[in-house]
């Protein structure tokens, strides 16, 4: 018994780890009636040796699957150990981990066995048991099974905090190449079900206060990066469209880790595209929090992100006419566009400058990355320059100064962009 559950957990955690979402924020479930658990701003309870956060118990219900998606470790043609949890096993693992403060909650996904509804129904039983029998108010992230019926998906949404379904590949063509049994259309259909139900429940709650919460932490999706040849522009324009049309809370980008000798994809042993993944997340942040339009960062002229520098710096160097920005007078929206200044520092600057002009030493103390920002700002005691530095000189200068953990070779001298 002891060994069997250990083996199952190892197999089904190993198979679930390629789903990168681990967010446990965005919900506000309270612990009512002296039960157990609540949700709030999210907590990362530990970090694995790959530096990724562990917030949720992330497992598959089973890794038996009727599909044969080339990028997936659980594809039916793959010769691996298979296992399946019982409903009781998942519930007792979740509760016992949660009670010991190991986790913020459960992330439950599954391979598809028999058919979509059969799988979804099993997952629904788990979340209902947790909520109704264990009086559990911790976080639950539930995967929507592609092709599951609207009734089942809607019912699951009453118990889950977040639901998600993966686009898998950034474009329909990419998906058709590697997983002809799946389609973006199916994903869109499922996302729309949750989106529309959430709108309905929320408007009903305005009239009737006791209307239950429906997927309060919203929906997310994931794209695998680097398995197929899409450009960064393709990826981020898809992300932008899904943020807009399906009100997604997050899009996750998962650098492809070669797991098979399929000739259509990078060979086993190829390094996962970690820098590229990082740059895509930076772009995603600029879109969501820094008021950038995706077309400003990625367009036909610049279809791929610069791997040497972050996308905000790259954008600033391409747009020298906007700089320097006067810290003491510029709009907030312009200040957050300065490389080296983040949201928190920008807010501090806006609040503090009402009490007098800001000087370099104050900006440094507030925590802006002055080494980078200095070329793009003016403040009370900025040195007077006869001539603004040329963007290409500036790029070379900044690259020389920065030490990137990713870069192994010396930066090129003076490239044009």
């Amino acid at each position: 018994m002891y060994e069997r559950i250990r083996e199952k957990l190892s197999i089904l955690a190993d198979a679930a780890k390629y789903d990168v979402s681990c967010s446990s924020s965005g919900s506000d479930r309270k612990n009512t009636g002296k039960g157990i658990g609540d949700t709030g701003s999210g907590i990362c309870h530990t970090y694995t040796e790959d530096g990724r956060c562990v917030s949720l118990l992330k497992i598959l219900l089973t890794n038996f699957c009727i599909y044969d998606c080339a990028f997936c470790v659980s594809r039916r043609s793959n010769d691996i150990r298979r296992a399946a949890f019982t409903v009781e096993e998942v519930v007792s693992l979740t509760m016992n981990f949660y009670r010991r403060n190991y986790i913020e909650g459960l992330f439950l996904s599954s391979g598809i066995f028999k058919d979509a509804d059969y799988t979804m129904e099993r997952m629904l039983r788990i979340v209902k048991k947790l909520r109704l029998e264990e009086n559990y108010n911790g976080y639950i992230h539930l995967k929507t099974i592609p092709g599951a019926s609207e009734a089942l998906v809607t019912e699951a949404g009453l118990y889950a905090d977040r639901m998600s379904i993966n686009l898998e590949m950034p474009t329909e063509q990419g998906l058709q190449l590697l997983a002809p049994e799946k389609s973006h259309e199916e994903v869109k259909r499922e996302l729309a079900v949750i989106r529309d139900q959430a709108v309905a429940y929320n408007s009903e709650r305005k009239l009737i206060k006791t209307t239950p919460k429906f997927v309060p932490a919203g929906q997310s999706t994931q794209m695998v990066i680097g398995a197929t040849p899409e450009s960064d522009k393709d990826i981020m324009h898809t992300a932008q469209a899904f943020y807009k049309h399906y009100a997604l809370k997050r899009v996750y980008y998962s650098g492809y880790i070669p797991i098979s000798n399929d000739s259509r994809m990078p060979a086993v042993g190829t390094r996962p595209p970690l820098i590229r993944e990082n740059r895509l997340y930076q772009t995603d942040w600029l879109m969501r929090f820094y008021d950038f339009d995706v077309a400003e960062l990625l367009n036909d002229e610049h279809p791929n992100l610069d791997m040497d520098m972050d996308p905000k710096l790259a954008w600033a160097l391409r747009n020298p006419h906007i700089f320097p920005v006067d810290i003491n007078t510029a709009d907030y929206k312009l200040i957050i566009r300065v490389p080296g200044i983040g949201i928190r520092s920008a807010q501090k600057i806006i609040a503090a400058r009402k009490f007098g002009k800001l000087h370099i030493h104050q900006l440094k103390k507030m925590g802006i990355a002055y080494n980078r920002a200095q070329y793009f700002i003016r403040c009370a005691d900025s040195p007077f320059l006869l001539r603004e530095p040329d963007p290409s000189q500036l790029k070379a200068l900044l690259l020389r100064q920065s030490t990137s953990k990713y870069r192994t070779t010396a930066p090129e001298q003076l490239t044009l962009f």
């Binding site: 157990i36 530990t46 990724r52 650098g255 000087h359």
Partner: protein, 261 residues
């Protein structure tokens, strides 16, 4: 005036004591002072000093005064920064309060001011440690059903985290013990209690709990370690990032890092 010439206030190191000192500085017309804790103060034979006796009424007047003049978020910063226990923070909090009272409302947003920024930044550091402890507490279940954990936080955050644990674990009795500061918080399904355990008792407790640990504890400890290993992606190994997020000084309190030091 040199700092040597400033009046020296000796207080008991408590939050109320600090607020009382602020109150008295107005009464005694001392805009600038030196501030020392009674515990650590070594009086030089020639220097006179002023003993501050914590006074609830005076303290609450200062607190209400701050409430009226600063945004609630900054009131929280003031309170959190206090728990940093850093030598310089008491005087910074004193100067901050003087600055707030001596200026019109709204000056708590002047992040260009040294003390305003210092309080905001220190409170952020304390907040981070608080958040870290909400993450890093690892309960073990004992035979009598008590979930207990030992921590050793950089700052004195136990008073700041107890509400979080009471709300979340309302249906299980628990005890979180700060090894460094030698006190703990116990929740008995009804209320929170501060507990102190002296050294001999502490040893007895560990010896005893080793015997009366819950029968299932070993299984879940093992499963958690297994999970921690399985959910790692070896191809993405990044120990620098791992250690940045989980600094070594916390490893001995983390179930999943047992035996890794």
């Amino acid at each position: 005036m040199l700092t040597d010439d400033l009046p020296i206030y000796i207080f008991d190191g408590t939050f109320y004591g600090l607020l009382t000192a602020i109150f008295e500085s107005y009464e005694r017309k001392h805009p600038r002072i030196q501030l020392c804790c009674r515990e650590t103060y070594a009086p030089e034979f020639f220097s006179g000093h002023i003993d501050i006796h914590s006074d609830k009424v005076k303290a609450q007047r200062v607190w209400r005064g701050l409430q009226q003049k600063v945004a609630s978020v900054h009131l929280g910063h003031f309170y959190k920064a206090f728990f940093s226990e850093q030598a310089a923070i008491h005087l910074a909090l004193f100067r901050y309060a003087r600055y707030i009272f001596d200026h019109p409302a709204g000056h708590d947003f002047n992040y260009g001011h040294e003390d305003v920024l210092a309080i905001a930044q220190m409170s952020q550091r304390v907040h981070r440690e608080k958040h870290r402890m909400e993450a890093f507490v690892r309960f073990k279940k004992s035979g009598n059903g008590l979930f207990f954990a030992v921590i050793s936080p950089d700052y004195n955050v136990l008073p700041l985290i107890s509400k979080h644990f009471r709300n979340r674990y309302a249906d299980q009795p628990w005890l979180i013990y700060d090894e460094r500061r030698k006190y703990g918080i116990h929740y008995d399904l009804h209320a929170l209690h501060e507990v102190t355990i002296d050294f001999t008792q502490e040893q007895a407790m560990t010896a005893q709990t080793a015997v009366i640990i819950d029968a299932q504890e070993e299984l879940y400890t093992q499963l958690w370690k297994d999970y921690f290993r399985s959910t790692n992606i070896a191809e993405r190994r990044n120990m620098k990032l791992h250690i940045q997020h989980v600094p070594r000084r916390y490893w001995r309190y983390l179930t999943e890092k047992e035996g890794k030091l």
